[in-house]
Amino acid sequence: MLKYIIKRLLLSVPLVLGIVTATFFIARLAPGDPMDMYLEPQRQRQVDPEVIELMRKRYGLDQPIHVQYVTWIKNVARGDFGESFRHRRPVRDIVAEAVPYTLQLTILALLLDALFGISLGIISAVKQYTKLDKTLTVGSLIVYAIPGFWLALMLIMLFSVNLGWFPTSQTRSMNYEDLTMIGKFLDRLWHLALPVFVLGIAGAAGTARYMRNRLLEVLNEEYIVAARARGFRERTVIVKHALRNALIPIVTIYGMSLPFLLGGATIIETIFAWPGMGRLTVAAVGGRDYPIIMATTTIAALLTVLGNLLADVTYAAVDPRVSYDAPRKR
């Protein structure tokens, strides 16, 4: 197994390098200049062209693109992602600030996804053809089809603007510093509610649909009839004989959600002004903040590769038929 993991990691080096290289050149060849934000007339701010030239030099933007690329690779190899053009602070610090916010959001969203998705999928499959199943199936299809940004805006409209139950955006209230420990915790949860719900519910709808289909597939297998024929309780048949088999591919799906965990949700974070990785990336793309674009892309590429590997490794752990070691002796 260890040998397999090392092999996979080595094989993924060229892949990650390729993604990063492509992103580097696409970002820089795309129209727009990071210095534009100093020149925008509506900012009503005149900056001396000489100063701009100096800044270009400072960030190495005066160099030919391939030289910039080599410099960037060298720095990253030393663990230095450079300095953000816009924030004028090390990219590492900015990312380190964004990651905890994203994790709060994505971990809770994934929990909601798994909790409701898997349980509703199971209920739906076990109660196949009943009204409950039909309601859940149609409901999950509708939720699955609703675009997240639209749902987010509608929920903000209803619960924040009209009813005033939840905040429209941000991570904490204005009076946050005056609150007690418990008050602070509750205030955070209160701000998390809507974005977590929007992210989690869409995932849960997808998971429920997948879980239902998988379980129905497994319930049609002959070993389920065989288990019933042995006199096991229906509950045992479902939980022990069917679920274990049905959950195997689900585990893989969650393994592959690693990039989402740290990469965040670009649209939802932007709508809720959530200072996580997703919003950071969107803002960086808009402002041509190359060092941040490159850092978040690199992280996303690494996590995608690791997530796939994690999924494959967990697959071997939960399914005895899958093994990455030399064939076992029969």
């Binding site: 196949q128 053809y129 049609n220 297998e221 002959e222 070993y223 009839v225 065989a226 288990a227 019933r228 024929a229 042995r230 006199g231 096991f232 309780r233 004989h241 274990r244 088999n245 195997i248 939960v318 399914d319 005895p320 038929r321 076992r328 029969r330």
Partner: protein
């Protein structure tokens, strides 16, 4: 009488219509005897087996009739009582062991689970008992095999493992649905030997279901021939094979290749094909394929009637002959 099936009718309720896979079947199985059920694929043999255990999958179900096992009607038994009959009273083995074994549990655990359920043994005792059952099924290195997953066993070993699971509950009746069909010829012989051997040891009855008349003739004391959901002939196996009455049975026997018969006696098939159960011919459903059929056969299905001692047949032409 161990098992008495009376006027059993089971159907699937499909969008295209009602499919009567079992259409009024009655038969008995005595304790310790082997009864064979023969018929072509798709004639409803497996549904008979699943009806006895009340395990027909959706959208099918047993519609009417009685399944008396040790005097109790299984179709009217409360679910808790029925669970005790499944596994402990009646065991079943299927055609594809690879499909009937749960792929993610060790063989030993699958056997031990049944032992714990029906014999109330503790986990550890059930495991060592499971190893013993595997050994009794002629599996070499039973300790090692108990720790194997189904995919690690050969086809014949999987079949033995599945029989071990069925035997773990010490059933009084074993239903063997095409027990050898998916296997190599040599392994087929081993498995039928094994079935005979465990029947002697455990003194249980066997209901053997197969399309293979030779296998059934080899194993069964009595044989029933099934066609489109109905029994067309039942008799002691020797008599059925030696003096078949129903034209369909005669056709089945004529279709068995005889070793050393030479090329001058061509193999006799039955003309035509098994009709679609959703679109059955009128009257005797065999009449379009039958050489004796006339207009009488197209009107009403012939009843299964005594034609000789312990020999029943459902055919107007045979009744006329006797």
């Amino acid at each position: 009488m161990l098992l008495s099936v009376r006027d059993l009718r089971s159907a699937f309720f499909l969008d295209e219509g009602e499919l009567w896979a079992v259409d009024g079947i009655s038969f008995d199985v005595e304790a310790g005897e082997t009864v064979g059920l023969v018929g072509e694929s798709g004639c409803g043999k497996t549904i008979v087996a699943l009806s006895i255990l009340d395990l027909i999958p959706h959208p099918g179900r047993v519609v009417s009739g009685r399944v008396l096992f040790e005097g109790r009607d299984l179709l009217r038994l409360p679910p808790e009582e029925m669970r005790k009959v499944r596994g402990a009273g009646i065991g079943i083995i299927f055609q594809e062991a690879a499909a009937a074994l749960n792929p993610v549990y060790r063989i030993g655990n699958q056997i031990a689970d049944v032992i714990r359920l029906h014999r109330g043994l503790a986990r550890r005792d059930a495991w060592s008992e499971a190893v013993k059952v595997l050994a009794a099924m002629g599996i070499p290195e039973p300790e090692k095999r108990a720790r194997s997953y189904p995919f690690e066993l050969s086809g014949g070993m999987k079949q033995r493992a599945m029989i071990a699971i069925a035997m773990a509950g010490r059933p009084k009746l074993l239903i063997a649905d095409e027990p050898t069909t998916a296997l190599d010829l040599t392994v087929q012989a081993e498995i039928s030997d094994l079935l005979r051997q465990i029947q002697d040891e455990y003194r249980m009855a066997i209901l053997i279901i197969s399309h293979d008349l030779e296998l059934v003739a080899d194993m069964a004391d009595r044989t029933m021939v099934m066609y489109t959901g109905r029994l067309v002939e039942t008799a002691d196996t020797k008599e059925l094979v030696g003096e078949p009455m129903h034209p369909y049975t005669q056709g089945l026997i004529g279709a068995i290749p005889v070793l050393g018969a030479g090329s001058e006696t061509p193999l006799q098939g039955i003309p035509g094909a098994v009709p679609d159960l959703l679109d059955l011919p009128s009257g005797c459903t065999f009449h379009p394929r039958c050489r004796l059929a006339d207009d009488e056969c197209k009107l009403e299905p012939p009843p299964l009637e005594d034609a000789a001692h312990r020999h029943q047949c459902a055919c107007y032409k045979v009744r006329v002959q006797t």
